[in-house]
Symmetry: C2
Subunit: 591 residues, 2 copies
């Protein structure tokens, strides 16, 4: 069975050595001293390794079962969910007013990585609750907040998001679910939603569905979509649970992975619902959830890659097969461990350099969110909004590839379910699809985010890279970082320029290169993170750190990323600059 060890040391390194959080003037960050975050991470790491990780393969093997309308979760899930609630983990970064601990988002993100790495399917129950609670927090009335948030923050009640219908996913304007006003402020919802994660289960007393639907007579298409709160059990005025509402799970989907999470077809048969936010402004309210969810999904890409990598590394050190061509490393044994072989090393270094770079990227993104929310910093908000599709799309594409590579390290055993490597791959696969398929992320990036606020945020990003490079160009040891980063950043700028010039003539010149652009952008971001980590480690070494080996390893891992992964940017640029013609040459009928 695979194991999971929480990367608490590396999380500490990113927060304190690289991002220097406790020196930040973001409200709440002054508390984030190393000892304080270390205590939280150790605790979260413990529950991740000891409680959640052992249930991962159980969830995969047993899956969920629908019995007379009730969804049974895998053995052990209920106990673990109770432990999560008792530990107060679901409310870690939620407001104290509703029972949370009001920690910065960056702390919730670091902890979330561990939970998700240990057991993605399980962690989704509370992850979706967090997203739904955030939407109510942002758009709910005081009464709605008082009614729903305390129980959602504690995960006594869980939450869901209901967007997709059988005939519409990305194109939500085609939606058919109706919400008819009842004259008393409430609505009756009728329709069917599919792919509803955690849609029904037995672990919580109540489930609060956030549902997109159309109010009859409203505007056509996406402009006529509103968001509703639809509880599984109606809530009485005194807060106690009332009648069962007209919402039920019609079917559980059989999926490639995340078997431990219940993916439901939800039927709304005149279910009572309450408008969340304004009429016909449902997409705006939903995007509060979606943006948070997209960062969370990007984190799943990282977390599955991390869990898979940890096990591939153990196997590569343990499994004896073949000899080091430069001389036996285990001369007394029958063979050398796999890790001596350069091609196995390549796979491990790909994974290691991705995981550590992605961790820094996501945590940096989380500090920007804190800066946006806690300091109302619009520039930070714009920058993280620009990078959100990159975090979601690039990290899940790459994270998936890394799980495939980790599986490959195991050879034949990687294909056998009991070794657990297949599950990391199968679970990681969904992250490329849900919360907006990665092609939609690329479209969001190129079609919307690049030009947002007159292109101000992407310019800010370029300046940030430029300033970093000019500040560090003469620092000893930084050359293997600064030069490749400059080159990669130039490729990104050239791609942006190509889109501006050619996209005016034909938007397809931009759209045909959107996925390549997202990946190009992702590599520049990870290159920047590695350069920042290199700088931090060089400083630590100069300051006579007691842990020189750790920092030397960081530098070597970073040099690998710059030398071996960053050359991808030139390829992406070449593809982008080939324009729309090769892509769009054929009529649909010619395929």
């Amino acid at each position: 069975m695979p194991s999971y060890t929480a990367p608490t040391k590396d999380l500490q390194y990113v927060l304190h050595d690289v991002l220097n959080v406790s020196a930040s003037d973001i409200p709440g960050y002054d508390e984030l001293e190393p000892d304080f975050t270390s205590a939280i991470f150790e605790e979260a790491g413990k529950i991740s390794s000891e409680v959640l990780a052992p249930l991962n393969i159980v969830g995969d093997t047993e899956g969920c079962r629908l019995e007379n309308g009730v969804v049974r979760v895998p053995t052990g899930f209920q106990d673990a969910f109770n432990q999560m609630r008792e530990g107060g983990w679901p409310g870690l970064d939620m407001p104290e007013d509703f029972g949370g601990q009001n920690m910065p988002y960056v702390v919730g993100t670091a902890v979330g990585e561990m939970f998700s790495a240990a057991n993605q399917a399980f962690t989704m129950y509370q992850g979706l609750t967090h997203g739904a609670a955030s939407a109510i927090l942002a758009h709910g009335t005081d009464a709605q907040k008082a009614t729903f948030l305390p129980n959602m923050v504690s995960c006594q009640w869980t939450g869901t998001m209901n967007l997709t219908e059988p005939h519409c996913g990305t194109d939500l304007g085609l939606m058919r679910t109706k919400a008819e006003p009842q004259g008393d402020g409430s609505y009756k919802l009728t329709g069917q939603k599919i792919f509803i994660s955690s849609g029904e289960h037995e672990m919580a007393e109540n489930i609060i569905h956030l549902v997109l639907a159309k109010i009859p007579g409203g505007p056509e298409g996406i402009k006529g979509v509103s968001l509703f709160i639809v509880p599984k059990f109606l809530v009485n005025a005194d807060g106690s649970l009332g009648e069962r509402n007209g919402v039920s799970c019609g079917k559980l989907e059989e999926k490639m992975g995340i078997h431990g999470n219940s993916t439901c077809v939800m039927n709304y048969d005149g279910a009572e619902g309450y408008l969340l936010g304004e009429e016909h402004k449902g997409m705006r309210a939903m995007f509060t959830m979606m943006n948070e969810a997209r960062l969370g999904v990007g984190m799943q890409g990282l977390s599955q890659a991390e869990a898979a990598y940890q096990n591939a590394l153990i196997y590569a050190k343990d499994r004896l097969q073949g000899r080091d061509v430069t001389g036996a490393k285990n001369p007394d044994g029958p063979a050398d461990p796999l890790i001596v072989h350069p091609d196995v090393r390549r796979m491990l270094m790909d994974q290691k350099s991705f995981v550590e770079g992605a961790r820094a990227f996501i945590l940096w993104g989380a500090t920007l969110i804190d800066q946006a929310h806690r300091k109302s910093d619009k520039d930070a908000d714009g920058l993280v909004s620009l990078m959100t599709p990159v975090i979601k799309g690039f990290l899940t594409d790459e994270g998936y590839d890394m799980t495939v590579q980790a599986q490959q390290v195991y050879g034949g055993h990687g294909y056998i379910e009991e070794w657990g490597m297949s599950q990391f791959t199968r679970d990681a696969r969904i992250a490329m699809i849900y919360e907006g398929a990665n092609g939609v992320q690329a479209l969001d990036l190129v079609g919307r985010k690049l030009a947002q606020d007159g292109g101000k945020h992407v310019m800010a990003f370029f300046n940030l890279v430029k300033e970093f490079c000019s500040e560090n160009k003469d620092v000893e040891g930084m050359e293997p970082f600064v030069e490749p980063l400059k080159t990669a950043s130039k490729h990104l700028q050239a791609a942006g320029m190509y889109f501006m010039q050619q996209g005016m003539k034909n938007p397809n010149h931009a759209l045909a290169g959107s996925t390549d652009f997202m990946h190009l952008f992702g590599h520049v971001c990870l290159g920047l993170m590695w350069a920042r980590m290199a700088r931090a480690s060089i400083e630590a070494l100069e300051n006579g750190t007691s842990d020189a080996a750790f920092h030397e390893t960081k530098l070597a891992t970073g040099r690998y990323y710059m030398a071996r992964r960053l050359p991808a940017t030139a390829m992406h640029l070449a593809r982008i600059e080939s324009g729309a013609d090769p892509v769009m040459a054929l009529d649909a009928e010619a395929f």
Copy 2:
């Protein structure tokens, strides 16, 4: 449920327009007139689409079951297997002396693509039989051939290959299975083999296991390995079946995919076996099987990509979602089909250009095998031997990626098992692992094949590309093919040069770039195939073909490959030229 349509037209195009097989002087090729191969392909296509494809998802869902030592195959498999036998398909390219039809290997390969695309797990039962029969044909005594081949050629009996043991896969020198001589020419085999595809099942009267084992007292390691024929039922002198032999299935593995094929732990408890080939030369004999099997596995990469692509294309034309940004294409409908979107196009074009290029590559390889076998042409043998790891490693890595992309076209439905797209991905995953994991293919390519016969074969490959480019550089319409091919080929040569120069100093400089080299080589091969197809289609158009649309589509698809996929070669070269240092910088303990 996914469907499968046999690509008979495209197979005909490659054989006749591109490879011009019936004009070849390879013995047996004169028969391969278009009408003749068309009749075969139509028949094979029919059984693929109508019999094998509908059983694909059945095999995945039901899997195999071990009941009291007997393996039950999925519903419908036995009937389909009988139909395959009745049609004479298993012996298509086997000698007439043993009941085969003696067709060229290229015909068997074309037909094999269809069977494998329709149902990989099912087709493995006969594919492994073919491989085992080929080994007996090449290394068996006349008596062994007479005893085993007629029933194996007809698939009355099936075959297996037994290499892996729990503690050894790639490093077969660690093998523990023993074969003790009985003094009567037979041996008693004792040991355990794992990952034995088709190891036990109820569809054949007998199963002929080819088993690697060590004769006690022989040389240490890989030099002391011999190959044995171990039948499930002993065969009496009159050819009838005798006693059950001491070999049994101890366990069926639960795998990520190919559920319809029985992957067995095989226990040998003093089983009677007969030496195949010479004592201690088992690896040589086994490689007859392995090389054929590696081409077959490369074909699985192509075939799963083809099957997945066909369904992604249907979905992309059918599913209405969003609008073409350049103007509605389906203005009377609620939305446009997915295929209007450039990023969806990109995915479809990646798949289409891979599949058609890979098909040409494999069929070209098959003609080289025919040339080697039927004309005893050592140069052809050397060239296909050089390309075998590329066919296996590159086509299965890329083929897998294409199934992932096809799944992505489906959005959320791609993750739901009933739509069948997950199965293509899960089934395709094994091809990167078995018959030598792709890292081992890369090692074989760089560590052995490049330098074989003094580097003669790789020089022959470069000359072939060079000659093609100089012959075609002034042909109208060939510029978008010749220029990128030249550049890519230069990258490949530069990489080879780097290996020669740096590998002398430290072999790790070559090995650390082996997988990148395999991919670089693969892109050059597919680039060459596209250039050859372009030339063939330009000629067809000049000659006033009645099917101009088909040839225009070929040219557009080829231009896509050259513009969008071939730029990967520069990235692979950059990675290779960064050498071993970034890869090997860390001590194993530092990870």
